[in-house]
Symmetry: C3
Subunit: 338 residues, 3 copies
Amino acid sequence: MKKWTLGQLAEHVKGSVHGDPKAVIESIATLESAQAGDISFLANKKYTNLLATTKATAIVVAKEIKSEANLLIADDPYFAFSQIIILMHGHRQHPQTGISDKASISDSASVGKNCQIADFVTVSANASLGDNCVLYPGVFVGADTKISDNCLLYPNAVVYDKCTIGKNCIIHANATIGEDGFGFATHKGNHHKIPHVGSVILGDDVEIGANACIERGTINDTVIGQGTKIGDSVVIGHGTRIGRYCLLVPQVGIAGSAVMGDYCAVGGQAGIVGHIKIGNQVQIAAQAAVINDIPDGQTVVGSPAIDASKAKRAYSLIEYLPEMRKKIKDLEKRLDSK
Amino acid sequence: MKKWTLGQLAEHVKGSVHGDPKAVIESIATLESAQAGDISFLANKKYTNLLATTKATAIVVAKEIKSEANLLIADDPYFAFSQIIILMHGHRQHPQTGISDKASISDSASVGKNCQIADFVTVSANASLGDNCVLYPGVFVGADTKISDNCLLYPNAVVYDKCTIGKNCIIHANATIGEDGFGFATHKGNHHKIPHVGSVILGDDVEIGANACIERGTINDTVIGQGTKIGDSVVIGHGTRIGRYCLLVPQVGIAGSAVMGDYCAVGGQAGIVGHIKIGNQVQIAAQAAVINDIPDGQTVVGSPAIDASKAKRAYSLIEYLPEMRKKIKDLEKRLDSK
Amino acid sequence: MKKWTLGQLAEHVKGSVHGDPKAVIESIATLESAQAGDISFLANKKYTNLLATTKATAIVVAKEIKSEANLLIADDPYFAFSQIIILMHGHRQHPQTGISDKASISDSASVGKNCQIADFVTVSANASLGDNCVLYPGVFVGADTKISDNCLLYPNAVVYDKCTIGKNCIIHANATIGEDGFGFATHKGNHHKIPHVGSVILGDDVEIGANACIERGTINDTVIGQGTKIGDSVVIGHGTRIGRYCLLVPQVGIAGSAVMGDYCAVGGQAGIVGHIKIGNQVQIAAQAAVINDIPDGQTVVGSPAIDASKAKRAYSLIEYLPEMRKKIKDLEKRLDSK
């Protein structure tokens, strides 16, 4: 097994060592599970007490942390630790299958250099793949869809027709991109299907979680901005535009024609209604229900969502409603009897 | 590119023209993104001000809208606009693959006329497909399942055994129909699997969203009525019966043995507990939690769900709970000190 | 059609007969839909009145139920009834395909005895399957993944690399096991992907619903304990450990690094934040939002989740907030005017 000294790791992540730079590191672990030879990290100051008991040989920490342990001090400890994981383990290696005879690739499709296309993959008419793409078994790429360089599609991921996938995108297993949106014209009680003329456009460096669904637009395209990461089982409605570098945690749902700015974060199971505008750097808590526009920089919590500065206390008081109601009755009685 | 006059479009949708019936239309667009040559539509009166600034050559509107712009006046503007989209763009054209040699079709299965069965499709023993069905790659049709005429199954959609799919149904990618319900008999702490003897029956004209799941029934069938549309990632529990012409938006969850009437609409992420009865024409808001029967025609909002006439104001007051609690304390002090 | 006497069925489930042990039973049905020849069951005492009107030839009931009908009395009626369903219908029979020539099985993979591997299945390098496994079409088994004896993977289920699946597990269609967790190190606004070195380990007798997602761990493994059953579209976050014999109903979401004990039950659409500890025998209601540790044996309800003994009344009072607020104002006025 390959080994590194703490000093080497510090140099790799542009950090500094407190303690023994010659300490030998072989692997990574959490503070609780670490053994000798492991490097760990302290993500949250509230766990600082674990530094006293961890068996890790060294710990990646922020500048302000003091300890007798071997420390690798970094400006951004979690990022430094992630660089160490990449150094030690790398990213997943993919099967070097070349282009399988058991894949089904249209004569009119174009395939870039050095692609790995597994068995049972379908690349439809006039679709194009850039260089270095990896398509696992069962992947479907629809007609006229463009997949840019260095994309990675895991098993059974489906991209419908006429979609555009940027460079370096990752689409996890069983995700669906570009299905028709939930769009019907209800006329005399019958729901008539509306053709979805819009498409889906993913910017560069987007990651789509397993079983997530990105609807294509009815008229305008559905757009996911560069560097945005979307979790498992998220659903994005037709014509919605998500900005750059957003994080949408699993099971989030965003209805159609919503607009979200850049650098937003949305917690698990949160829902956002359609046709509203979310600013930049907005934080939306898990299970929140967003029904109104949100300006830049606001954090909202709750269903319905309100400003976080009020929400935590307000929602925690639901528990006291029976007591409050009783007190109101008591007050009424006391006043009546005066 | 094909072109139409406004007069031709009005005739097509049985509407009337206000303005120039010879205005030439080439495409569709939203009011904000429209350019000369586009036709757009006004779906919601609150956006009437956009009529003054849109660059659209004409706009589909309801009778009561007044404007100097070229108008196509229709009784049901959204339906009229959807007819224009269909006229101009049509519905998706599917690859005319015939029956692929790379599909796996049981000798005991029957396949109707003019079906398109793509590579890597499985049609199991004794399954039957009607005429004009389109099965995209990776679709699985289980044993003894019947798929009626004109059905469309997108890539990697799965229909388990012994299900019945009506005519003109659309099942989107990665949807699952007919899996075993979440049914276990817990005995001495161990959860024993119950065979699911029931099936799934979809009526005619049903559409099932990507990654949606329709559980088969334990004893009785799970039934989705004619013309009902189900969004992405919806889960319908075992033995539940949904009526005709309902709309279930993405991420809705309905537990087992519930009954829903006709013409209901359920908002995103709403949940309905099992074994309850929802009437006809019921509206359930997004993220609502329905735990009791709902009579015909009621609209409910919130978790727990209450009548919409009360709910909007009631839930909006959660924000004021801290203030209310403080006022109660103040009142108590004032009374104490009298 | 095979027939049984009520006496034979009682013997099979170790119950006793009240009424005619020679009554002939041919099938199962619910109380409402039963016809002569059917056996039904009473799951919930509140439906006892149905015993008077059901056409069932016999009903499985608990000891304390009294009726003139033919009764099969059992200690655990639902379990007894499930044994009768199994006796009459058995579990699903799977196609005996052997190992298909159209499956893609790596030379370095190992396959146990008596496996059924359908067309379009992929078993990757160094993967291993135990004896008697059934893999439906489109299933993907990643490199170095171990699937133990008697497992059942439905169509298009995906198991990524290096996962471990215990004996007798069932994985439904379009489920995803072992995808990368939602883990990014955000540095200067950009979200850098963290390799997920951890894996997924399913214990014996686990069932995973259709379209469910079990993320692999970042450092530690994601673990699902023996006998735990997970519903459709559930998402389990990276590094989370679920104990044994838990029930997680459809659309539940549990964030990363959470720990749940044994014998817990979680209702539909409930969410649990990451890094918290749920004890044993905890009950979490549908749509609950769990943001704090929960001790053994507690039942919680609501978003945010509070103890069930308070929650039902507290949440039901949200409806009365407008009235309460008005009363507070009235009290203030009355006091002001004194």
